[in-house]
């Protein structure tokens, strides 16, 4: 007898559990959809300021940046994404000085670990939250961060941008 009652109780609890499951999906059918519709919402999309997806070197209106070409970021980068190419020039008062020639950064290799920005002594670089970076060509991902003809900002001026926290 017990096996018969077991057969039926198993049948009915089983059906009950299935109906419970269906009630959950039924409820979800009418709840508000959570989808964030990129790219339709491109104008209203908020990406957190701290989101890291592109390294930039802020330049001010005089086309000046804060990078002294010290190379600490290059040293700290774990996989060699950053290449700081510097050149020696002679300043007006006859001293030799190292200045930035090219600041090369490979977007396709960067792991966004933030070590470069953390260790930069002059706050010359920062991460931006622009995420639309896909390209067709690998070479396009190798970028030069300093603008053409830019030069080092005078130290007395305020730094352009505060360090990204």
């Amino acid at each position: 007898m017990s096996s018969v009652s077991k057969y039926f109780s198993g049948l009915f609890t089983g059906i009950k559990s299935l109906l419970f499951g269906m009630s959950v999906t039924w409820k979800e059918l009418w709840t508000k959809k959570v989808t964030r519709q990129y790219p339709e919402n491109r104008d209203t999309l908020v990406i957190s300021d701290r989101w890291r997806s592109e390294l930039t070197m802020p330049h001010d209106e005089n086309n000046e940046h804060a990078c002294t070409a010290c190379g600490i970021c290059e040293m700290n980068c774990p996989n060699g994404t950053i290449k700081v190419i510097s050149q020696m020039i002679e300043t007006e008062d006859g001293k030799k000085k190292k200045i930035l020639d090219k600041y090369q950064w490979d977007l396709g290799m960067c792991t966004f670990c933030n070590l470069c920005v953390l260790t930069c002594p002059s706050d010359a670089i920062k991460f931006e939250n622009t995420f639309e970076n896909a390209v067709f060509n690998r070479e396009k991902l190798k970028q030069q961060l300093n603008h053409e003809g830019s030069k080092l900002r005078d130290k007395k001026k305020e730094p352009l941008a505060p360090k990204a926290e």
């Binding site: 997806s53 792991t111 390209v135 067709f136």
Partner: protein, 187 residues
């Protein structure tokens, strides 16, 4: 050369990255002249192809999880009609390489790629697939999946956020839209 036929809903063409590549590509394709009738049919075919990209997820690590997030409710890849992930390479159009490629895996990804039916595309997702990323100096890592199979779109990030992947997929749609399917120069 203008890119008039490659409109993507939501983003103006001018705001896309790397438009020069597509312009050059069109130039190259149209070097032999354009057949007007075929061109119109091509346009329809390309509309169908670009809106029905069924991906095969070649996920090896972290980026695979981001792809899962892309497919889930908050981002919903189904809006693009790409939620039909085919696990069989025969039925897939696009291989999304999401993760590091190592020496042991290289022959296998090549084999899966060869099993896919034409026309097929490859999207390299994340730093590892593009260049080897964090593990670029390792003895066992292939520095970029483009050393094994041809890559159509690179989506940088580590891992790229779902929106970045969508952007990459739209780039791929643009690329498909400028191709000439009936002409013999498709790829």
């Amino acid at each position: 050369m203008e890119l008039k036929n490659v409109n993507i809903k939501g983003i103006p063409t001018a705001e896309f990255n790397d438009n020069e590549y597509l312009e050059n590509y069109i130039k190259e394709l149209e070097a032999n002249g354009v057949n007007v009738v075929l061109g119109k049919i091509d346009e329809f075919i390309n509309w169908g192809r670009s809106n029905s990209i069924w991906p095969l997820i070649y996920a090896t690590s972290c980026c695979g999880i981001e792809f899962m997030a892309t497919a889930a409710a908050h981002n919903d890849i189904a809006r693009f009609g790409m939620e039909v992930t085919r696990n069989s390479p025969r039925q897939a159009d696009l291989m999304i390489v999401a993760g590091t490629m190592v020496h042991k895996m290289a022959p296998l990804i090549k084999r899966v790629y060869d099993q896919m039916a034409e026309p097929k595309y490859v999207l390299a997702m994340g730093a590892c697939a593009i260049s080897g990323g964090p593990f670029v100096n390792s003895y066992h890592v292939v520095n970029g999946v483009d050393q094994i199979i041809p890559v159509d779109v690179y989506v940088p990030g580590c891992p790229p956020r779902p929106e970045s992947l969508f952007y990459g997929l739209m780039q791929l749609q643009r690329k498909i839209k400028v191709e000439q399917f009936l002409g013999n120069k498709q790829r």
